[in-house]
């Protein structure tokens, strides 16, 4: 299978603490992959390493954008460069720009695909005007797809929780990624919203051809939409496989689902 993301032997140390230990993971083209594990297992740290927020202590992060067959090493580059290369993410605790409008939030996602500099913005020549118009149009189109079009001019902070989560996805999509990293997209959503989210994520994969790697605690959601699942605990990978394999894996049940069943 064609590969979108390949992570090899990734380790991350904080001082003396090993948060990630020799992790391998890969996401294929047009695949939905879930990363699960108990709280504190290192899932978000894993995302932060991939997206350049922390430089990993050891290991490689390799990506292959659409249409390219070679893998490109991206560890150690800045978060904004990672985004430019086509990886976009959402955050576990929503990090929108609260005092900007919904549309502007999405337009920020367009930033790295636009070119206007100070001079261009001040003089507002034809290319800048066109670029700006297109950004507005594209952003609006994304909002329509995500189902937030009616809120375009609303401040992001005034949206409902579920809508804010969706806006984060919209904003990430505006950066034209080939791989979307979703950090607990269903957290705090009601069953209805979760079902809609399930639909939305599948649509993003099917219609936009974007691969998806997500961290999620909602097992129903994970099992229903993932092609493959990786399980981590204490920074190590303890299992990987299809939802069915994971469901019946005794190690996983012991380390993770057992706990979850009690909760």
């Amino acid at each position: 299978m064609e590969c979108a993301l390949k992570v090899q032997n990734l380790s991350m140390d904080f001082g003396g603490l090993r948060a990630l230990d020799d992790l391998d993971l890969d996401v294929g083209r047009n695949e939905i992959v879930a990363l699960i594990g108990p709280n504190g297992a290192g899932k978000t740290t894993f995302f932060n390493c991939i997206t350049g927020i922390y430089p990993p202590t050891e290991g490689d992060v390799l990506i292959s954008a659409r249409g390219k067959d070679r893998l490109e090493r991206i560890n150690g580059i800045k978060p904004n460069k990672v985004t430019e290369k086509g990886l976009a993410r959402t955050f576990q605790n929503i990090r929108l720009f609260p005092n900007m409008t919904v549309l502007e939030n999405v337009m920020i996602g367009r930033h790295c695909r636009m070119h206007a500099g100070i001079l261009g913005a001040v003089l507002r020549g034809p290319s800048t005007t066109r670029e700006e118009k297109e950004a507005v149009k594209d952003s609006y189109a994304i909002l329509e797809k995500i189902g937030l079009a009616q809120f375009v001019n609303e401040f992001a902070k005034n949206l409902s929780y579920g809508a804010q989560r969706r806006l984060e996805i919209a904003r990430a999509m505006a950066t034209e990624p080939f791989l979307l990293l979703l950090d607990e997209p269903a957290a705090g959503m009601n069953p209805n919203e979760t079902r809609e989210l399930d639909e939305l994520i599948k649509q993003i994969r099917d219609k936009e051809g974007i691969s998806i790697l997500l961290i999620e605690h909602d097992m129903k959601l994970v099992m229903s939409m993932s092609d493959r699942i990786f399980v981590v605990d204490y920074g190590r990978k303890i299992a990987q496989g299809t939802p069915n394999e994971i469901r019946n894996n005794p190690v996983v049940i012991k380390a993770y689902l057992g706990e979850e069943a009690d909760a």
Partner: protein, 411 residues
């Protein structure tokens, strides 16, 4: 309705403040004649004043509370009707355009209907408008609290003064050179502070401002120390030297021109790719980077642009006063500019203009007030932050209309 326990509370507050201010407000020592003056009247004033202010405070706090609750409930409901923005802007425009024409006319004829003294004051106010708009980019839009902003103002003023002293460079040459120097200094200052967050940034920039001030004060060979540089020429009009009177008017128009250009530039930038990146940086630095925005570049452009504006204002300042010395560039100058931005409304152009006019003109015309100016500014900063953090004329984000886009999608 004032309740009994509120009155009781006010009494307690009043008693507390009488206690608190007793040594400073009531007793005054005269070290020369070794007598102690007891000013009991002040005690009464503090008591009565704090008694009533306690009610005002409580009232304002309560006003703040329901507002807070309102946004909270709004967050929970999913069905917020989209704003009717188009209507609101149209309604504003009907007042907007005649007002603009009136202000424009007044601006043009100002130096001919008012005295030179008034024109001079107006030039100061205009310089502060420019400084305010510059700092507004850094603090209001990009959210970087720069307490050393005055340093760039000094860079411009000294650039003109020194270039003129040593090389006889004229005002019109110094203006762009000052602007470029300002940008260079802005970037030089920006680099080391790129990774600092809000409060550290504030104190480091304050430090930079002070370092520049101290250097100007002490490096006699370079800056002529505390005595400063005098006899800086006023700008000449096509090589003709003007009389003091006409050159004041001339500087007034130069400043008007510079302000208009500044407003134009800031306004264009605000709703551009760059401006949005600044605001996003202010809102959430990490998310901003994760969305593909180069944090370093964005911060540096904000610093550089703010510094350029301050530096150019500095060149005009030097030309206006024909004299510069370090005393004009203290930390308090930075704080006054910050007050202008905060009071007017962070991020809002009209707000900053209004803020500069009010804060600079009021003490000029109310001499009695000028002694209490800094006290009032301090109070204002605190009160504004608590009750109106957006300023009196808050920034409004741009509203986009979408009928066109929708039909385009359908076709």
């Amino acid at each position: 309705m004032i309740k009994l326990n509120e009155i009781k509370r006010a009494f307690l507050v009043s008693a507390w403040f009488i206690f608190l201010t007793f040594p400073i407000m009531v007793i005054r020592i005269n070290p020369v004649e070794h007598i102690v003056e007891w000013r009991w009247k002040n005690m009464a004033l503090v008591g009565i004043g704090s008694f009533f202010l306690s009610f005002v405070w409580n009232y304002l706090m309560k006003q703040k509370e329901p507002g807070f609750k309102k946004t909270e409930t709004a967050e929970k409901t999913d069905t917020i009707p989209p704003l009717p923005p188009a209507r609101r802007i149209q309604r504003e425009k009907r007042i907007y355009i005649p007002a603009l024409v009136a202000i424009g006319t007044l601006t043009i004829v100002f130096p001919f209907i008012f005295s030179m003294y008034q024109t001079n004051i107006m030039v100061s106010a205009l310089i502060y408008i420019m400084l305010g708009l510059g700092l507004n980019i850094v603090v209001g839009l990009a959210g970087l609290l720069d307490l050393g902003y005055v340093a760039f103002y000094a860079v411009g003023a000294y650039a003109y003064a020194l270039l003129n002293y040593h090389f006889g460079i004229s005002f019109w040459m110094a203006l762009p050179i000052g602007g470029v120097l300002g940008a260079v200094f802005g970037i030089l200052l920006g680099f080391p502070v790129l990774r600092l967050r809000g409060d550290y940034l504030a104190i480091v920039t304050l430090g930079f401002g002070e370092i520049i001030h101290i250097i100007l004060q002490n490096w006699n060979e370079f800056s002529f120390g505390p005595s400063g540089i005098a006899n800086i020429p006023r700008p000449s009009l096509f090589g003709i030297d003007l009389s003091v009177h006409s050159s004041t008017i001339y500087i007034y128009y130069i400043m008007i021109g510079l302000c208009i250009v500044t407003i134009f530039v800031v306004n264009r930038l605000q709703n551009s790719r760059i401006g949005r990146a600044w605001v996003a940086l202010r809102e959430d630095e990490l998310a901003c980077q994760a969305m593909g925005i180069d944090k370093a570049k964005t911060k540096l452009t904000a610093f550089a642009l703010g510094a350029t504006l301050a530096s150019m204002a500095g060149v005009v300042f030097a030309a206006k006063t024909t004299f510069v010395n370090p005393a004009s560039f203290t930390i308090w100058e930075s704080i006054i500019i910050l007050c202008i931005v905060v009071m007017g409304g962070m991020g809002s152009i009209i707000g900053v203009i209004a803020g500069a006019l009010v804060l600079i003109l009021t003490p000029e015309y109310l001499r009695a007030f000028s002694e209490y100016r800094m006290l009032a500014f301090g109070t204002m900063l605190v009160v504004m932050m608590i009750f109106r953090p957006g300023g009196f004329i808050p920034d409004v984000r741009r509203i986009y209309k979408f009928e066109g886009v929708k039909s385009m999608d359908k076709s």
